[in-house]
């Protein structure tokens, strides 16, 4: 079984990985314990879960201008997600993904990506062509 999901062209190289999905938003500054690599804000849907080497699938990005540096800092320590998929990215986190060379795509043609993809799905993300493939569920 394989499902192809079209999205807007995005940032970074082709990657494969396992999805971690939540119908919540993402702030590098306020939602994460960046040292431990887990979601730390108690109210967050993924509180306590590790995002390291996962393909995060979330609604939108929040947070101020400082978060543009943070993905690069996280990736340099090997404590970053493999890729991030949003319904709608914000400008700052997209700029941060470009610096970090961390794959990021958004705007899925078939609707809400947080329902199209489930936690545990194996994905291939191809930002240049705007394609995400669910290879196994």
């Amino acid at each position: 079984m394989s499902i192809e999901l079209k999205c807007h062209a995005g940032i970074g190289e082709r990657v494969e990985g396992i999805a971690l999905v939540a119908q919540d938003n993402f702030s590098a500054r306020y939602d994460l314990d960046r040292i431990k690599g887990v979601f730390s804000r108690p109210e967050h849907a993924l509180a306590g879960q590790s995002y390291v080497d996962k393909i995060l699938v979330m609604n939108t990005a929040k947070g101020g201008v400082a978060s543009a540096w943070m993905l690069h800092e996280m990736k340099s320590r090997g404590m970053a997600p493999t890729a991030i998929l949003f319904n709608a990215a914000n400008t700052i986190l997209a700029q941060g993904a470009a610096l970090a060379n961390l794959p990021m795509v958004d705007r899925f043609e078939d609707g809400d990506v947080t329902t199209l993809i489930q936690t545990g799905d194996r994905l291939i993300v191809e930002p240049a062509s705007g394609l995400v493939t669910v290879t196994s569920r």
Binding site: G10, V65, S67, T91, I92, Q95, D106
Partner: protein, 414 residues
């Protein structure tokens, strides 16, 4: 995305590795946001506090700074947002030598690239305000919203790496606020209660930002009967951007792109009232009447010379409570003027500390809060009380007058 011959040459590496990286970065971002081409910018402003860049960010900058001088120099005037450490005053705050060393290395790298270390989030009051129609690449959401809205300049929120790329190329991808169609109003708010004082303007901005709630929404505000001062507009904008990720607002009859509703295509938008209840609901979420105050903070944005004078006037011949610390953050250029005017001495005789080139929430707020045992924080900045809840504080909001009175009493007075 269309590149002119100058940018094509940079992309090919003909102007060195730094500019090649910069164009590659801008292409990635521009494609994501469907930019048709690049637009020339007159200034860049970079947010890069030590807490967010970390050692990897410093090493990245040092890599660029080590290139030959003609490759590493920025192409346009480029300035910086507040730093995370005031190198004249960090140990007493509980900041470490490691934190200070990140700053020292970063400053050295910036200087080698020709970046002006202004360390300010009020560059539109202190350095060189942009003019109507001026395309710029600014970081700091408060700087961007003020410059777009009050000055009529054109900037997206440019995170540090993107501002740096713009500084190196002299261009930025033409998307978002650089385009006429993204500057038209999408929400129309009607104010019936006139704001009085900086905090009221901040609260109004916060309520509008929360209702608008997205980078791609542009609020237009009707019913404002008095032109706000630069400081009032600064607090309104900083709060709106903080609560709503809002990069631009218009005020009918006040801001330069909006003499009337039709200038921003807003005649047909539904008019949404901003009620007294809306304003009071926001204020009451930051009320703490009678509670002990650990620290009073004047920052976010940094204080202008006029605000420094008001703080000094309020502090004169008084002293803070021994259990309540007071911090005031301003730009180094304002500090010099405030020093010669006697304001710094007056504020410090009160028992407060004036920090230069930092802004409280960008200077390891969590770590210094833990080091000093600060949880209950009081400020007149609607922006800062929004942010610091995420950093382990219990923030409260009061006017500048009541903040000083609370510092004297050691508890929140209203």
């Amino acid at each position: 995305m269309q590149l002119n011959s100058e940018l094509e040459a940079m992309l090919a590496g003909e102007s060195g590795r730094a500019r090649q990286w910069a164009v590659e970065h801008q292409l990635q971002v521009g494609r994501m946001f469907d930019a048709p081409d690049m637009v020339r910018v007159s200034q860049a402003h970079m947010m890069a506090d030590a807490e967010s860049i970390g050692i990897p960010g410093v090493e990245f900058m040092e890599g660029l700074a080590a290139l030959p001088v003609e490759e590493r120099r920025v192409a346009i005037p480029m300035i910086t947002d507040p730093r995370g450490v005031d190198l004249d005053y960090y140990d007493p705050l509980g900041q470490t030598e490691d934190m200070a060393n990140i700053e020292r290395r970063f400053i050295a790298a910036c200087r080698a690239m020709g970046i002006l270390m202004t360390n300010t989030c009020i560059n539109y009051q202190t350095v060189m305000p942009p003019v109507l129609g001026d395309h710029v690449a600014y970081g700091d959401t408060g700087v961007v919203i003020y410059s777009n809205s009050i000055c009529g300049a054109r900037s997206n929120f440019e995170g540090g790496p993107s501002a740096l790329a713009a500084g190196l190329t002299g261009y930025t991808p033409r998307y978002g606020l650089h385009l006429d169609e993204c500057r038209r109003a999408t929400r129309r708010f009607v104010v019936s209660e006139q704001p009085q004082g900086l905090t009221d303007w901040g609260v109004l901005g916060a309520v509008i930002g929360r209702k608008a709630g997205s980078y791609w929404e542009v609020p237009v505000v009707e019913g404002i009967e008095r032109v706000p001062t630069s400081d009032e507009a600064k607090h309104m904008g900083a709060a709106m951007a903080s609560y709503g990720s809002t990069p631009l607002f218009h005020i009918v009859g006040v801001t330069p792109e909006c003499e009337s509703l039709c200038d921003v295509d807003a005649e047909c938008l539904e008019a949404e009232p901003i009620t007294r209840d809306d304003l009071n609901a926001l204020r009451s979420s930051f009320g703490a009447h009678g509670e002990k105050v650990d620290v009073v903070v004047f920052a976010a944005p940094q204080l202008s010379l006029v605000e420094m004078q008001r703080v000094a006037d309020l502090c004169r011949d008084k002293h803070r409570h021994p259990d309540t610390d007071v911090l005031v953050c301003t730009a180094a250029s304002v500090y010099v003027d405030a020093k010669s005017a006697g304001f710094i001495d007056t504020i410090e005789a009160f028992g407060a500390r004036v920090l230069q080139g930092t802004c409280f929430y960008q200077q390891y707020a969590r770590e210094i809060g833990e080091a000093n045992g600060w949880t209950r924080l009081l400020s007149n900045s609607t922006k800062i009380v929004n942010i610091l809840g995420g950093y382990g504080y219990r923030p409260a909001l009061a006017s500048m007058e009541n903040c000083v009175a609370s510092a004297v009493a050691g508890k929140v007075v209203a």
